[in-house]
């Protein structure tokens, strides 16, 4: 038995080694380094001097950091709850369909999610094009003024929010559908026998039974949207990135455009802590949801 154990340990070491080597190199080591350089004035490449907590103290009075934090929060508000509601409504509609029609309709909603962000950007950049975009033709039809949407500060975040919901809703719809399918049909049959209306059935059966999936979708989106960068960067090209600044963009700008690795790392650590805290909360939430069953 003892020799077996030892043999097991050796085999496990061999099996786990490649994974462990990769994670130590590209996960553990960079994470430690990130905390380390956030206390220095290092450039992107090369070492710097220890400056204590100066980089963090500067964030408090840094207007661009404030813009980035505010825009990130604003983007979360614009996308997370609306995205969850839109996905739930669509999933309820799709769940009613049967067979080939259902998979076809689901594919139409899901296709955007499978595309690279730059394809999404090019398509919407074309749809919203100020001169030739189809949306501008539609505005013309209704006698409304054309808007240079991605070049207007007030419109930028809401528009990126809409594009993001369009792009990612397919994922949430899929999770909702999986949740809806796991509700036993007998419950609905019983409700129908009791003459329960559509709304009552939803409120008393679907909604409570779907709650674990709803909270999952909500938190997955929350975490994803805190990390927004790609869409904001792409749509800001040729525009005003400093007005549209978000947290990851700020890390990118400080590190890669202004060569201030230390100051960028302080922003990265802030984001890191934020996302980890939310993720831990999500993890606890899921455990609770799992324990309730």
């Amino acid at each position: 038995m003892l020799t077996n154990r030892r043999k097991d340990a050796w085999i496990a070491a061999v099996l786990v080694a490649p994974f462990l080597a990769i994670y130590l190199l590209v996960f553990v080591w960079p994470t430690i380094q990130m905390f380390g350089i956030s206390f220095t004035n290092a450039p992107l490449i090369g070492s710097g001097d220890w400056v204590g907590t100066e980089n963090y103290e500067r964030l408090a009075s840094d207007p661009r950091f404030r813009t980035a934090a505010w825009n990130t929060a604003y983007f979360v508000i614009l996308t997370v709850l609306p995205g969850t509601v839109v996905a739930l409504l669509i999933a309820l509609g799709v769940a009613r369909l049967k067979g080939r029609l259902q998979s076809g309709i689901l594919a139409l909603f899901f296709l955007p999610y499978i595309l690279p962000v730059s394809v999404v950007y090019l398509i919407w950049d074309w749809v919203l094009n100020f001169q030739f975009g189809i949306l501008m033709h539609v505005l013309d039809l209704f006698g409304m003024d054309r808007i240079p949407i991605m070049k207007t500060r007030e419109w930028f975040m809401p528009a990126v929010g809409v594009v993001t919901i369009w792009w990612t809703a397919g994922f949430s719809i899929l999770l909702f559908l999986a949740g809806l399918r796991s509700i036993p049909p007998e419950i609905y049959e019983a409700a129908a026998l009791d003459n329960a209306g559509r709304w009552t059935t939803f409120r008393r059966i679907t909604w409570p039974l779907l709650w674990p999936v709803t909270s999952l979708v909500f938190t997955i989106q929350l975490i994803a949207q805190l990390k927004i960068f790609d869409q904001v960067y792409l749509f800001s090209q040729g525009g005003r990135p400093n007005d549209n600044m978000v947290l990851v963009y700020y890390v990118f700008q400080r590190a890669f455009q202004q060569d201030q690795g230390g100051r960028a790392a302080a922003v990265a650590v802030t984001l890191f802590v934020l996302v980890v805290v939310v993720s831990v909360l999500q993890f606890q939430l899921l455990r609770m949801a799992g324990g309730r069953k």
Partner: protein
């Protein structure tokens, strides 16, 4: 249930169905519009009214995109990187998933915590030190440099562990009786029983890697080393302000993943729900 209430229910049910179908068509319209615009000659694209079907359909923009830009090179880069990341991720995750599921060894708990931790950490926060690392290794502008930081997919280990956990113990005991070693058990028993999930996970890992933007964008400075999604947005002079040509490039960039999804719809949706922590 009375007939009238049943009829009312069917009526509203029909309305919801029609609305869902209409919304789906509207949802997919930007995709349709992108594809259709890429098939129009440039002078049709800029017409001041809506033209839902090209008057003179043409593939010329695809021809230009393929032969007058570096998109073929970007394709090769994207395929190399996506295949590399997929193979390495699937193999290393499968091996560790098996160890976690079937073997008792010291450090097992710690390993599990490492996986959970990497699950929560935003890789976007690590871009600075990923860049430093890749630069120190001299891998900027190389396939290996684009691949390395993209190998963090803890969810795949978790899914493998779950599936290996579900294999009935009898199979393992029978194999052990036959004096089969762990590697034989893994490759002759556990892996063949889980080919379905292996292909599903491989397809989505390929799609995720193909679609990646931030890291390929940061780790490449030379145009000939770019991946497709980065190249089509970062090399503007490649397409100029020719909208249709740019859209043709976009269609070419989305084609592999869209096809992968349409061909393997079941597998893709299965893997995505699994990766979100839901058993399909």
């Amino acid at each position: 249930m009375t007939t009238t209430s049943l009829q009312r229910m069917n009526f509203w049910g029909g309305v919801i169905t029609v609305l869902t179908v209409l919304l789906a068509l509207l949802w997919a319209f930007p995709l349709y519009w992108g594809v259709i615009s890429s098939l129009k000659p440039e002078n049709e694209v800029v017409r001041p009214y809506i033209e839902l079907w090209p008057e003179n359909p043409t593939f010329s923009h695809y021809y230009t995109a393929i032969f007058d830009t570096q998109i073929v090179t970007w394709y090769i880069n994207s395929i190399a990187v996506a295949v590399g990341v997929t193979v390495i991720t699937i193999v290393t995750s499968m091996l560790s998933g098996y160890a976690l599921s079937q073997l008792q060894f010291p450090g097992r708990k710690a390993l599990w915590w490492l996986i959970l931790a990497s699950f929560m950490v935003p890789t976007q926060a690590l871009i600075i030190n990923h860049f430093v690392l890749i630069a120190q290794l001299g891998l900027i502008n190389t396939w290996a440099g684009i691949m390395l930081p993209q190998l963090i997919h803890p969810v795949i280990i978790i899914v493998y562990k779950q599936f290996f956990d579900q294999v009935p113990k009898d199979f393992r005991e029978a194999a052990v009786m036959d004096n089969a070693g762990e590697f034989r058990i893994l490759f002759k028993v556990y892996l063949p029983m889980n080919w379905g999930v292996t292909t599903a996970l491989s397809i989505v890992t390929f799609i995720w890697t193909w679609n990646a933007f931030l890291w390929p964008f940061l780790s490449v400075t030379r145009t000939e080393m770019m991946t497709v999604p980065v190249g089509i947005t970062q090399v503007n002079d490649a397409f100029g302000v020719f909208y249709a040509r740019q859209l043709a490039a976009a269609v070419l960039a989305g084609l592999p993943v869209a096809l992968a999804y349409l061909l393997f719809q079941r597998k893709v949706t299965e893997a995505i729900t699994l990766s979100a922590g839901i058993k399909g």
